[in-house]
């Protein structure tokens, strides 16, 4: 598969072309393990609370630990809220509108002035 295949017009994705880490995957793993052992549940809960605290309460610079997870979450939030980002489904909707809109006949340019420059 060509690495540019995602950029073909026919392969536009609903959420755009940005490939980002699946930030919710760890939560899925926790929910699967919960049924096996109360110890796992307890450990996971503690970790979850810890991550939540890291995300929302403590400045990352003071921790001396990797802030990759936190940066990922912030980047995700930015992509959703920034007005400079193309919203999900924008290009397919626009293409569909263009495809369905009739093309106008060419206008008569015989009397047009010479280009200004």
């Amino acid at each position: 598969m060509s690495e540019f295949e995602n950029y073909w017009p026919a392969a536009w994705q609903v959420d755009g072309l940005i490939v980002k880490a699946p930030v919710h995957r760890p939560i899925k793993q926790r929910s699967v393990k919960r049924d096996k052992s109360w110890k796992v549940v307890l450990t996971t809960s503690v970790l979850s609370i810890g991550m939540a605290v890291l995300n929302f309460s403590i400045p990352t610079g003071a921790l001396g630990v990797s802030s990759t997870r936190i940066e990922s979450a912030e980047g995700h939030r930015y992509a959703r809220s920034s007005s400079s980002e193309v919203p999900p489904g924008y290009w397919p909707r626009l293409v569909a509108a263009l495809r369905s809109a009739p093309t106008l006949p060419d206008d008569n340019s015989s009397n047009d002035p010479e280009p200004l420059v």
Partner: protein, 175 residues
């Protein structure tokens, strides 16, 4: 067409889509394409020499001869593209000129809004009735634009009309 609906009573606070600029260099490479290289004459004066060879700098940027006009321009870039001036900011500009300079056969279809590529600009403050030539769209460095005076800003209705003209010009679609 109500002239006053196309323009704001006062300039917008920041450079905006639909702003009219005082005369600014607008053009394209000279034909035949002519490359330039740095040279020096006596007493160390800097000159630009015609060169048959393309001699870019380390970034691939070089000099070539251009031709054009110093002419009023219309800002076509969307506000979101130009609201954060930076070293590399670019501004899309369309040259504009007086409708009165055109022959009747060319002027009338523009006034009647029958041309995709030529947009009427009625009652530009300080200038009068003009038209924009979208066939000659080009970009300018933001620094050059900022050195120029802004003459007028389009109203919200005017900007929507400009955006409609751009859609028609680039797509020829009926919505």
């Amino acid at each position: 067409m109500a002239d006053e609906s196309w323009w704001t009573p006062q300039l917008k606070s920041e450079l905006s889509q639909g702003d009219v600029l005082s005369p600014i260099p607008i053009g394209s490479p000279h034909l035949p394409v002519t490359y330039l290289s740095k040279g020096r004459v006596e007493k160390g004066s800097q000159v630009w020499l015609q060169s048959s060879k393309w001699q870019p700098d380390g970034d691939g940027i070089g000099l070539f001869l251009g031709k054009g006009r110093v002419i009023h321009g219309l800002v076509v870039s969307h506000d979101c593209e130009i609201d954060k001036p930076s070293r590399s900011a670019r501004v899309l500009i369309a040259p504009i000129s007086q409708l009165d300079k055109l022959e009747e056969s060319a002027r009338q279809p523009i006034i009647e809004q029958k041309r995709y590529s030529l947009m009427p600009l009625p009652g530009v403050p300080q200038l009068g009735d003009y038209y924009a030539d979208l066939r000659c769209l080009m970009w300018l460095d933001r620094k050059i634009v900022d050195q120029n005076k802004r003459i007028a800003s389009m109203s919200e209705e005017g900007v929507l009309r400009l955006q409609a003209q751009l859609i028609g010009f680039f797509t020829r679609k009926s919505f």
